[in-house]
Symmetry: C2
Subunit: 342 residues, 2 copies
Amino acid sequence: MPTTDPSERRATIEDVAEAAGVSVATVSRALRDLPNVATSTRLRVEQFAQQLNYRADPNASRLAAGRSGAVAMAVPVFNSWYFSEIVAGAEAVFADAGYDVLISAIPGPHRRALFVSQTAYQRRADGIIMVDLAMGQGERDVLLRAGVPTVTTGAKSADFPGVIIDNVAVGRTAATHLAGLGHQRIALIAGQNEDPLHFTVPEDRQRGFERELEAREIFFDPSLEAAGNFSVAGGYEAMVGLLKLDHPPTAVFAMSDEMAFGAIQAAREYGLGVPEDLSIMGVDDHDLAAAFGLTTISQQVDHQGPLAARLLLALLDDHQPDELMVEVPTVLVERTTTGPPV
Amino acid sequence: MPTTDPSERRATIEDVAEAAGVSVATVSRALRDLPNVATSTRLRVEQFAQQLNYRADPNASRLAAGRSGAVAMAVPVFNSWYFSEIVAGAEAVFADAGYDVLISAIPGPHRRALFVSQTAYQRRADGIIMVDLAMGQGERDVLLRAGVPTVTTGAKSADFPGVIIDNVAVGRTAATHLAGLGHQRIALIAGQNEDPLHFTVPEDRQRGFERELEAREIFFDPSLEAAGNFSVAGGYEAMVGLLKLDHPPTAVFAMSDEMAFGAIQAAREYGLGVPEDLSIMGVDDHDLAAAFGLTTISQQVDHQGPLAARLLLALLDDHQPDELMVEVPTVLVERTTTGPPV
DNA sequence: AGGCCCACTGCAAGCGCTTACAATCAGGCC
DNA sequence: GGCCTGATTGTAAGCGCTTGCAGTGGGCCT
C-alpha cells in the first residue's frame, strides 16, 4: 500500500528517481547538470521531472548544500526613485542568474545592524548588496568574518567591492556650473542634519561643492545650507526656508533631483521665475528631470544596479571580478532651470 | 578531542543546547516561545543563545517545519512610483512580522507563469502578493490547488482576497470633472495597445470614463485615445501625437500621474499653457503631483501596500481576515492643471 | 502512604536534498 | 582471456532544525 498518492503532494526527488528508475543521487546530479551523468539518463530524468512538475525544494537543497540561492539587497527606503531604480536593475540581473532576491528597507542603524547580523549568522542569503548604507566598523567585521560576499553602492568602502561615483566631483561640477553662470550666492540643499545612518554621499558632494567655491573665492554662507532630507517635501521646505532669508540665494544646488523638484515648486509658489529669478539644479537625472526641464548631474543610475549585481555574481562564482571598484561617470545635463543671475 | 572549535563556525542549536545543558528540543522550543518550557530554562537558553550569537538556520527550520518564513511579491516593474510605493508599504509590515520579502519583476506572461509555478511547487514563499497582475485561469488553479495563500492588488479577482479600488469610478470621476468644467473634446491617455499581461485596471478606467461621457452625451472620438504605457516618456509621446491632430483635445485624462507629467512636458514644449490652453489630469496622487500642480485622483497608494500585507498575514496566520476584499476609496484632488476651456 | 496529574524535558525520527565514497560495468590493452 | 581504467550509478551519512511521543518527578488528593 503506497504511503500517499504522489499526485496529491508536491513531487519529491524520490518520486522522480522512482519514475525514472534511478537513484535520487543520479536525479540530483542530472538536474543540476553535473558531469558524470550519461546523456541518456539525464534526458530521461529531465523528462520525468517535468512530467511530475518537480522542483527541488529550495530549503532542502540549501540546507544540504550550504548555499541559499538568494541574495539580499538592503536599501534605506524603497519609495525613492534612485533606490527603486537600483533595485530594479539589480533584480533583473539576479533573476536571470536564477537567484532569489530578498529586500530589506533600513530605516535606521538598528535595522542595519540587525540586517547585517542576520545575513551573516543566519545565511538567509549567499551575498548582499548594501545600497548607500555606510556600515560601521563592527558591521563590516561581522560580514568579513562570516565571509559573506558583499557589494556596496554609493558609499565607497575599503573593505568591499562596489560601484561608486565620484561625489566630490559631483559637488565640484555643480559649483562650477553655477559659479560659471555668474552666481555668487549659491545655496545648498543637502541631506539631513541628523543622519543616523551616516551617509557619506552628502558629505562628499558638499566637500566638492565648497572646495570649488573656495577655489573660485566665492564665499559660502553657512546660512545658505539647508537640509532637504532627499525628499520632494524636504526640498520644498528647505527652499521655503531659504527664500525667507534676508539675503536669499540666486542659485541653488540640490543634492538630488527630488529635492530640486520640491525647490522648484516652492520657488514657483513664491512667484519666482526659474531660472530668471532663481537657478536650481539637482543630481540624478531623474525620470522626471526632463519634464521639469531640470538641469542636473546624471549618474547613470540605470547602470548601477546591474553593475552591482554582476559584481556580486562574480564574487559568488568565486572568481574575483576584473575590478573591485567600478566607477560610473557623472555628467552635467544642462536644461532650462539654470541661467545667469539677473 | 572536540570536532571543531565552535567559535570558528556559526553556532548551531546543538552548541546552545550543550552550553545550556539541555536538549536541542528544549532549545528549539524555548527560542520559539512555545509553551511547556520552564521560565528559568527559557531564560537560560536565551542567554546562551545570545552569547553564542546563535540564529536558527532558516533553511533548516523551514525544511523541518515546512514553512519558509518568506513571502513573495510580484510586480510588473519596480522602477515605477506606484509599484515601489506598494512594495515599500508591504515590506515594512512584513519585516515587522518577521517575514523575509522576496521580490520578482514580471516583464511578461511567461515570467508570470514561471513565478506562479515556482512559488507553488517550490515553496520558496509561504504566501504571495500579486500586484496588478491579472492571472490566467491556469495560474489561478495552480495557486489554488497548491494552497498558496495569495493576495492580489489592483486587479480584482474572485479567487483571491485583495485590495482594490473602484477603477470604473475613477474613470467616471475624471470624466465628470473635465466635462463639468465644460470640456467637450477630452482625450484619454491609456496603457498599452498590446498588453501581454492583460491588466484590467486600464480597461475599467476607460469603461467608466466612456460611460460617463456617454451619459453626458459627449462624443468620445476614438482618435483621442492614445497609448501612454504608464510611463513618463509614453505620456509625452502620446501627448505629442494628440497635439498633432487636426482637431486636438482641450482636456486630457491620463490614467496615471506619470503619463500626465509627460503630457504636461509635451504641452509646454508646444507652447501651450496648462490649464489655459489644455487641461491635464492624472491618477495616483504621485509624490510629485503637488510639485506639478497636477489635478489628479488619489488612490491612497501608501495604504494599499500595508493593507495587502496585513491581508496576507491574516491568511498565513490562518484566521480568515475580516473582509476579503478591501476597497480603498479614491478622491479627486483638484490642483492647477485643469480649468475651463477657453 | 500511594496514586494521579501535569508541567517539563528528552528521544529520535524525519524534512528533502547533496555529496564523499564505494560499487559496477564496459571497453581497451597486453 | 584477464586486468586496468574511467565513466556511471548507487549507498548512505549528514545538513540543522522541528515535533510526536515517551519519560520524569514534584505536588496534591484521598
